[in-house]
Amino acid sequence: MRHKESGWRLGRNTAHRRSLLRNLVTSLIVEERIETTLPKAKALRPQVEKMITLGKRGDLWARRQAAAYLMTREAVTKLFDTVAPRFGDRNGGYLRIVRTGWQRGDGTDKAFVELLGSEKLQEEKRQKRAEVRAKRAAEAKKALEEAEAQAQTEGGAPPSEPAEGEETKQ
């Protein structure tokens, strides 16, 4: 009989689990999307929704209660000023959890959690990441060409071998 077993313990004692969840909730509110394991994502959901409910109340006492749970002042400000007003017409169900794959090592399900309505922000972040990646790739290519040129001026070994090594590092 599976009685009296509610919630997720996550293999931690109470204090450790509370810390973990506070950290996750804070990160989620600041970043709008976080990647974690599926059980953590599921355990996170009720906590975040409680915070958003506080945010919707919006009074001083609510603000103090949120500040007592969230790890940074920045998160509290963001929760009350930008996150909570978004969900004015919605009673719960503020999060989206999407399974993405498996974790190397222990095979746990990985998922990301995001706040609804953050799609535009995610798109911008993705764009930025793509730019950084492109820049890095261009730099690596330049470095590779320079190395090749140097090898040729030295006139020694053929440049094909170190070039291939560089390729795999990218």
Partner: protein, 61 residues
């Protein structure tokens, strides 16, 4: 401690294991790139889930 009284046969072992086989996962088709993917998960090939790109998928360069 109680111990087995008789050795048991290979057939007995085999018969017991007849029900131990693993089943293949059922896969669904990704509506975006038409690859097979695990149901209810973002597609690992194209990063789409429910009509929206949700993951960064590195292209092999």
């Amino acid at each position: 401690m109680p111990n087995p009284k008789r050795r048991h046969s290979k057939a007995r072992t085999g018969n017991r294991r007849a029900h131990d086989s693993l089943k293949r996962h059922s896969l669904s088709e990704c509506p975006n790139c038409h690859e097979k993917k695990m149901p209810h998960r973002a597609c690992p090939k194209c990063g789409y889930y429910k009509g929206r790109e949700v993951l960064d998928v590195e292209e092999a360069s």
